[in-house]
């Protein structure tokens, strides 16, 4: 088996002592001593309450934590909470802990979880982040159940969002993945998701796990693989997700490098999936397919505009090598407009992104540098969006999002043209 070459002996021994399971929950960790105990408790509670007769295993894949993350996971003895009512698990919940590497990598952790799922012949698996502060037992069950009971192969979460959070996902990743891959999954990049043993086996066969794009963010690639293979995908509304105060998540630069870099890489390596595609693949949605809360005030964004303007100015030669002359000229022109009248139109935004994607394909410069050059432009679009929607209702914002999706779809032939064009 392919996984024999990279799984540690001790880990293999632990897996073999478990035998086969129906469900597997993987918890990738790195210095999560303060939260892993609570996460483990929530997962166990969920499994005890919702999967009474199933054989289950919880797997902690640690990326060289310097604190007591692993010890806490291993020490925590399985026990039935006195508050439990009704029927609880009739079987032992196995816990396995292993260090996959001395440095953290979500991709390598997920690779080992996927390998374990394949070895244990798990039918349904879920990846749960110990950094999620408001994880509830129902989240775990809702990611596992559609796979285990409804036969889905990939289940993404859906979160309730404040109007001004998750803009990278709403303004770039979701509409672009919808237009390119026909993928209606809104949270393509998330910390929690579920997948089937069948998808695990297919993913394990791919020799991509050491790719830089996968090391940081493997989840979107798994979803795209599932879509490409014609497997059933779905999304489950989990509720509001709050940011962990101790770990607020990656900043814009890192988030764009991880997600947009990964998305462009998925486009590059899965051309056969999207090149001839003309329709989107239907997916099952459990609960509302979006939920924007009207709370939250738009943050002050003066600096965002300054960073956009200086970025366009300072990176002029780099942007000139990525963008078409006309697009570059338009961006330079709007960067010179008055702050109050500034508007980064959806049409220009889509064109810009498609030209970035095509330039990534043609490797006009180092690909990581190319993705980083998008950051100032994203800030411009962000500033424009926040100005435009400072007083918009969630419904108005959702309607605007739909228009943007259509714009991505409308300009797709332009992407194909740039993609297949010979380099100048």
């Amino acid at each position: 088996m392919a996984e024999e070459s990279f799984l540690a002996d001790d880990f293999l021994r632990q897996l073999m002592s478990v035998g086969e399971v129906d469900l597997l929950v993987g918890i990738p960790s790195h210095n999560n001593a303060s939260t892993i105990g609570q996460t483990l408790q929530t997962v166990e509670e969920s499994l005890r309450q919702n999967f009474v007769r199933e054989r289950v295993a919880i797997l902690n894949m640690d990326g060289g934590s310097g604190d007591e993350t692993r010890q806490i996971f291993e020490r925590r003895s399985e026990r039935r909470e006195p508050s439990h009512k009704g029927l609880t698990s009739l079987r032992t919940i196995h816990r396995i802990s292993c260090e996959y590497d001395r440095s953290p990598s979500q991709g390598l952790a997920v690779r080992d979880i996927v390998a374990a799922a394949d070895l244990l012949r798990a039918r349904a698996c879920a990846v749960i982040s110990p950094a999620t502060p408001n994880l509830t037992p129902s989240w775990v069950a809702n990611l596992l159940r559609p796979v285990y009971r409804e036969g889905l192969d990939f289940v993404a979460p859906l979160y309730e969002r404040s109007r001004f959070q998750g803009l990278l996902a709403r303004d770039l990743l979701y509409p672009m993945s919808l237009a390119i891959f026909g993928n209606k999954i809104r949270e393509l990049y998330s910390d929690e998701w579920g997948f089937s043993g069948r998808l695990a086996s297919q993913c394990l066969e791919q020799d991509v796990w050491h790719e830089e794009a996968i090391r940081a963010r493997p989840e979107a690639w798994m979803a795209i693989k599932a879509t490409g293979a014609g497997l059933k995908c779905g999304q489950y509304f989990l509720g509001q997700k709050t940011a962990s105060p101790g770990a607020p998540g990656p900043d814009i630069v890192e988030a764009i490098r991880q997600t947009v870099g990964n998305f462009f890489w998925c486009m590059e390596t899965n051309q056969s999936i999207w090149n001839g595609r003309s329709t989107s693949q239907p997916i099952v949605t459990f609960g509302p397919d979006h939920e924007l809360s009207s709370d939250g005030v738009p943050p002050s964004q003066e600096k965002t505009f300054d960073l956009f303007r200086s970025g366009v100015n300072e990176l002029e030669p780099i942007l000139a090598s990525i963008l078409a002359k006309d697009t570059h000229a338009q961006i330079k022109a709007i960067s010179l407009t008055d702050r109050a009248k500034f508007h980064f139109a959806g049409e220009l935004w889509v064109k810009t992104l498609y030209e970035f994607a095509a330039s990534y394909h043609h490797a006009v410069l180092n690909r990581d540098h190319l993705v980083q050059a998008l950051v100032p432009l994203y800030r411009g679009r962000l500033y424009s969006f926040l100005q435009e929607h400072a007083n918009s209702s969630p419904d108005e914002m959702e309607a605007q999002s739909e228009i943007l999706c259509q714009e991505f779809e409308r300009q797709k032939p332009y992407l194909l043209e740039r993609w297949t064009a010979k380099r100048e």
Binding site: S190, P248, G311, N366
Partner: protein, 233 residues
Amino acid sequence: MKTVIIQGLSQAYSNLVHMFAEFLPRLLVMLVIVVVGLVVAYGLKTILRAVLHVTRLDRLSEEAGASRFLRMAALPSMTELLSRSLFWVTWSGFILIGISVLGVAGLQEQISRLFLLLPAIFVAILILFLGLVTANFLSRAALLAAVNAGYPSPKLLSWSIRFVIWALAVSMALEQVGVARQTVIAAFSIIFGAFMFGLAIAFGLGGKELAREFLERNLGEKKAEKYEEPQPL
């Protein structure tokens, strides 16, 4: 008198004939060596070009930003440049061997010196190329990081990095070919030292406020108020 002149002329003529008789075969050998060298150099150039096409060196060079510099200098692609260089180095080698066959006094020593220099020149070119690629890559990485973090004068930072690496590469290349070793080392030390000293003065005196801000932000216990953007994901 007349006989002496005729004898002298006859001697000179016979020497000339003798010289030509000795020289012509050597000239012929030289021409053969030059032609063979041309064929060998052309063959090597073709092989190297094919190998470099397979290894996609042009794409690598494009990604690293070296191709942009080549275009700016109206030079061909990296693959073409390297294969042409190999052609000329090989053919020049054969030409020099050919010339040495002529046995012209005084040329032998110069040719052997040139031969000794050839590998060093090749290594120097390689050093310059690597320096160009590294300087371009690192300066662009610094520019992007500085722009995205909102640091002031990102271009200055980027050009400083580029300049330092170029200076290092040029001095290493010159040292490799043995051109005024001591002068090059001294010049590099002076330029590098002056540059660093200038930066220190500019940062410490000219940018006192900036330096304070920077140190407070990065090293101070009391962190400056952080600019917060909405959570992207």
